[in-house]
Subunit: 123 residues, 2 copies
Amino acid sequence: MKRDTQQRRAIRRVIEESGRPLGPKEVLDAAQTHCPGLGIATVYRTLKSLVEEGALTQVELPGEPPRYEATGKHHHHHFHCRACDRVFELEGCPEGLRRLTPPGFSLESHELVLYGRCPGCAA
Amino acid sequence: MKRDTQQRRAIRRVIEESGRPLGPKEVLDAAQTHCPGLGIATVYRTLKSLVEEGALTQVELPGEPPRYEATGKHHHHHFHCRACDRVFELEGCPEGLRRLTPPGFSLESHELVLYGRCPGCAA
DNA sequence: CGCTTGTTGAGATCGTATTATCATTTCAGT
DNA sequence: ACTGAAATGATAATACGATCTCAACAAGCG
């Protein structure tokens, strides 16, 4: 049976409040302000179980370990800041993807990542 | 000083002839047909030095170790076949990326990956 | 409140990709 | 061909993220 622990509550909370995909380390740091003493093992365990029960979605970015965001948002992509290494959500989706697919290939999905500077780092 | 060895020649050759990004294991398998006895250590060493001298470019895809392709092609993206796990090059680039960038963010570059079935696996 | 059992935290352990080690080989200049 | 130095290959060692172990803890029930 699944228990409602402080740790699990803190982890869910920081991800839902952040509005952007967080890595395990980011989750740990943020959740420790609500739940001192929280360990990294619990973060990994909880992220895994939240993904399995569908509450979280793994976000895979090129050359990076996975991050996690709340499930249920509509289709979107991400912006990866090269300066602070944070990842932000983007609205919308580019046009003409089908046009890029050569004959014979069957297109099932796509991933797009924009790179640059976030507002805080662009200054 | 840099020597022209059979191993290095075989590795450059398979990458240039493949026309798609190859991972270290793929390079090893393909190059061994030209250079029997080739070891994985030499593949890693050579890939690294070819990247450093600018002959190869690292291709990072979500959730995958890097692959390598010849430098000098014009801007392009990739198609990742979910069945055979091979990666292919795509021509062209989607429209409207700038439109996706929220105010305050400075866009420097982007990566796009299409997923699906390649011609050989779609059948 | 007290018991049962799932959960936690610290550290050990693992898995995979990559790099270092080192004796041997082989390239390249003479 | 001879020689010195760089390159190679088998294997050990590393890096890193993620998972496992297990004693201590705490959620939830009666």
